[in-house]
Subunit: 252 residues, 2 copies
Amino acid sequence: MAEASVQPTRRERQREATYAEIVSVARTLLAEGAELSLRAVAGRMGMTAPALYRYVASYQELVDLVAFEIDKAATGGFRDAAARQPDDDPAGQLLCASVAFRRWALGNPREFSLVFANPIAVGACVRRELLTSATSGHFFNALLVRVWEKYRFPHPELSELEPAVAGALEEPLFPIDLSLLPDDHRGLLWVFMNAWAALYGVVTLEVFGHLDPRIIESGAMFTAMVHEWMPRLGMVDEQERLRALLASELTR
Amino acid sequence: MAEASVQPTRRERQREATYAEIVSVARTLLAEGAELSLRAVAGRMGMTAPALYRYVASYQELVDLVAFEIDKAATGGFRDAAARQPDDDPAGQLLCASVAFRRWALGNPREFSLVFANPIAVGACVRRELLTSATSGHFFNALLVRVWEKYRFPHPELSELEPAVAGALEEPLFPIDLSLLPDDHRGLLWVFMNAWAALYGVVTLEVFGHLDPRIIESGAMFTAMVHEWMPRLGMVDEQERLRALLASELTR
DNA sequence: TCAGACTTGTGAACGGCGTAAACAGTAAAC
DNA sequence: GTTTACTGTTTACGCCGTTCACAAGTCTGA
């Protein structure tokens, strides 16, 4: 039971490496359209399936792990998309990140399903679940806070909201980065959640094909949703510029 | 190659019955929380798995079949919920149906996933997919048309919409029941689709647990979404009554 | 240094899955 | 009454997650 020393031992490093390779191989597999299975992952690593149980307790744990990693990687992509806009234009950054999110989801439906439409919800594995949407959640939330800092759009006070909501915003279960958010503006989280619901709804609808292909292809519903939300996020004076940016991002 | 005669023969009837039993048993299985599998269905029917291939071409086809049937049954529930409101109150009916939809989804997450978050989207099986959401889609669309007939809320003209959208609305791929909808008000379909996206988004978010449990339990986001949509659907004069109805339906 | 403990892999096995092919019995059609 | 079509079983294949006993290799401490 030796605790980790200051310096990671050779074995610990090896172990970490194999761990990383498992996730990496799993992601590759998934990206190739193959089924994600312990045997397939092990096989591609030149190992047998039971060996993976030295690293992962079950198939579901592998899935959770991969989902988390995928979310992290995808968030990196969103961050890159946002970074193409000047730093003093959080609105433009949010738009670009949202478009990037949609594009990624449509281009990687399997990965999207894994991360955002997992039936993990059912009880137990709450911690893992909340963590899963942590990175992309963090990112979008931080971006929205920056938008608010610039435009100071209105948001409800905790006292105006239902007690259940106020309670949830006061001590959120999600690992939201509260340090970015002034205590007396917790109501912003409610705006964030509603915006997220709108984005999530349209994208999920598109990914799962519950929409006319022509509408998906044109991005019309996504555009309509964003247009509808822009004023609510204080983007009123620059509507034309932002709409143009959105359109150009969509046709990239 | 004898075509079906006027009267169904004994064999045809038997076949139909087994067919129905397959779907029924599959639904039972699903409702019990068990995995849906050919072997399990066959086993419960006192048959062996390969026998099912006389009725169903593949596992996926069984899933599609069951999904369709589940959607039909669930829609029946929504219809019942709507029917508890007077016939001249389509707004109240729509509210009740929406609440019923949400309640069903939260109470039957597996079934909901099967019908509304199926990765069927991927290419090929388009017909089946569109059919799947046909019954509930039909129902909600018809209800919304009736709301419009009463309140005459504004909707965009086809000419105002993007060509891709206009095209999709002119000859929809979805088996929308166009007979209910006057030709010169096709723009209503666009409103319907956006409303559906909002409903779908919130409910899916809740079902998949990407939301604080306290917020799910309180129904706050669902309520907020409905409140936001009511004016857009012309429900302005009766807001108080409808909001009260919504709240009471939620706590049923 | 050498024995013991711990770590990480293999191999075999269990039960379950979807699916294919060959075959048997039974009902319908001529 | 013979032929045909239908509906089921049996057997088998190759996948899956998972368990367990076992073999090596590696680290640890007297």
